[in-house]
Amino acid sequence: MSRLVIEARPERSVWAPIQVSLLAVFLTCLGGSVLFMIYGVSPLKGLDAIFIDPLRTSYGIGEILLKMAPLLLIAQGLAIGFRAQIWNIGAEGQLIVGAIAATALAIQFQGTTSPLLLPAMVLAGMIGGMCWAGIAALLRAQFNANEILVTFMLTSVALQLLYYLIGGPMRDPGGFNFPQSIRFDPAAKFPILIEGTRVNASIFIGLAASAIAVVFVQRSFVSYKMSVGGIAPAAATYAGFSSKKAIWLALLISGGAAGMAGVGEVSGPLGMLQRNISPGYGYAGIIVAVLGGLHPIGIIFASALMALVYVGGDFALLSVGVPNAVTGIFQGMLLTFYLACSFLLTSRIRWIKPDDLKQEAMAD
């Protein structure tokens, strides 16, 4: 009788995280090919539509950068918490609250041309996201309530809050009762970077956040303390690093980043507050953070890849006629394969052959 065993790998390579990411991408392509065949589309054509087509035109590249901005920002924030084993999975809700907070300013100062309005909106969005995540931090730090559940459930609350506000208090009075806010003034919007595309200056916030994250992770004492708390809680207790502080910091940073990403949407391509402000960026950000190996540089590449999948999904809908649910499926496959592969990074599965067992039996 032979059997499968799972065991810890004795040694690990430095390059393994990168190998795992690349392997996950490769497996996703394989899985995608199968998917395309089921739809009767040639796999090569399908993959071409998703991964290559968007890169052919400046419009496509602009769309990728547009989607990359919120993903990058959200993932950099989440990764800081994830490294400390604090799991904020409610970035979607914090994004919504950030967008609401910024919209409040845009409505309040309607008609202004002040260049200060946009920075104030970004700040408001950040604070909004922080407050929303702060609820989870408070509950976790004081009552040890699981932050995974709290942040996740708060996303539903945020969504209801949004529906209420755009249906009433924040509804455009001249908008024929459509559930949406007024159209933002130019002063409340990010400037377009490349003529003929929709990509705007909010990508700089993501890039700046990445630069800060690099320094923060590699050099800052706070990040060191948080990582000790995440990897070896007993060592953090011994050293005297407060786990409450780590919880607050992780949730406030990631909430603030998600809130700013929300501003990027309402002050960017949408130009108003409406029912659908995010195609799941808050959740995709989790995938980006994990796929980037929780490393600031890795996350830059992962967010570009994820943005490509978003845009490629739209392209594939038009050019080869597969439903754009394909985006979600590709994202899901990426995460699943990544997790499976990183399991293989720390463990190996082996098939014990009958021969070995016979030998053992003889020895007994």
Partner: protein, 511 residues
Amino acid sequence: MADTPLLRLRGVTKAYPAVLANDAVDLDVMPGEIHAVLGENGAGKSTLVKIIYGSVRPDAGTVEWRGQQVDMQSPLKARDLGIGMVFQHFSLFETLTAAENISLAVPGSIAELSERIRAASAQFGLDVEPDSRVQAMTVGERQRIEILRCILQEPKLIIMDEPTSVLPPQGIAKLFETLRRLASEGIGIIFISHKLDEIKALCDTATVMRGGRVVGVVDAKVEDARSLTRLMIGRDIAAPSHAAQRGDGHAVLEAAGLNYTPLDPFAPALKDISLTLRSGQITGIAGVSGNGQDALTRALAGEILQGPQDAGTIALDGVALGADTPDQRREKGLHFVPEERLGRGAVPIHTLSENAGLTTHHAGLVNWGMVKLGKRRALAQETIDAMDVRCGGPDATAQSLSGGNLQKFIVGRELALRPKVLIASQPTWGVDVGAAAAIRQKLIDLRDEGAAILIVSEEIEEIFEICDTIQVMFRGRLSPPVQVQTTSIDDVGLAMAGDFDALALKECAHV
């Protein structure tokens, strides 16, 4: 088949990036033989037994089991063949109970196992409470579970990597009895220890390693501690010099009426503890682990704060420490060496540089919230040099160090800032004889500079060797202090079993 070895290794070689951990090692273990493997920290003992147990793959060499060559691919295979191992670093699940942990390796329901555990723990003198959670246990208790788990698997070969390092003397005597009985039933035993008298008392044969190679296979009964030491490290070692107490002996750290009631009902409480640590003096706390030493050191270091229902104060230089956190206490000069080195004293996957910063960051390692990487690295390098830590340098991960070498690093890190008060739990646990003598000497040197030192140890000999006063801990209570010169190992042994009068009477007699 008496002349077929149970286990035969030939030419086993294992290279790590920084060292050749095993270099063409040969080893034979006969059925019924108790075989010692000894050598300095980092000599390659743990690596060798991990290869036998299948948790490390050798680069070259063969393993024969009862005359058959086998490919020891995994611990699973080793267990199937009948090899059991007690690891140097624990492999228990924190959130499970003792019985649940054992049930992962031994078949049977939890209820049945609990019965067997109770029976076996009485029989072998290995006190284990099946229903209590590992989380709340001291290293001594964890060690007992590991040993019990191994024995309950009924293996044909038992590998023990420093099993006695945290057991009290009575426990060790019981364990040896058990091992001898198992050996007389034909079970082979590989026994690793740094305590040479133990090896002499227990083992038949000793394989001595140095720098990954076997430098001798000797009859453990005819060698003595001195000749074994010379084989191991190539020279004799000097006993630490212990001058008479220095300084005015003013009180530096004072704990009064300390009480602590843990949440876990199985964890030991602290009951009305009073303790004074004086400048230029080493105080030793003797006692079987699990009598509250862990809670006491944590309370002094600031890891646990007394709840509102617990009375008591701790004062440093006359100022109450109150709710100061461990790092605030460190800033005031109170440092602590915990007993677990991997996961508590050091972060396993962090480098030594990073680990150097764990407790020393207040000493100018952080500027504007940014860690001074160069300075931290230099501190790690200094510690490595000062303590003669054998490793791949400041960039080696903590988990890549041999147990004793990591211990040297952690002790060195806490000594580096010349603390006013040093609390050290099992400071020479798992450290080889040469290095243990060096650590003890460093502690004595620190004392001579006027520091107040508290040593918690289950090794009575160690306490008698370096301490000035002794106190004994039993069931959460602390005996009054006695001078080392006025007491004897036997009296302390009695006190460890709860008879504090044995100490107190002597003290009166000498006044």
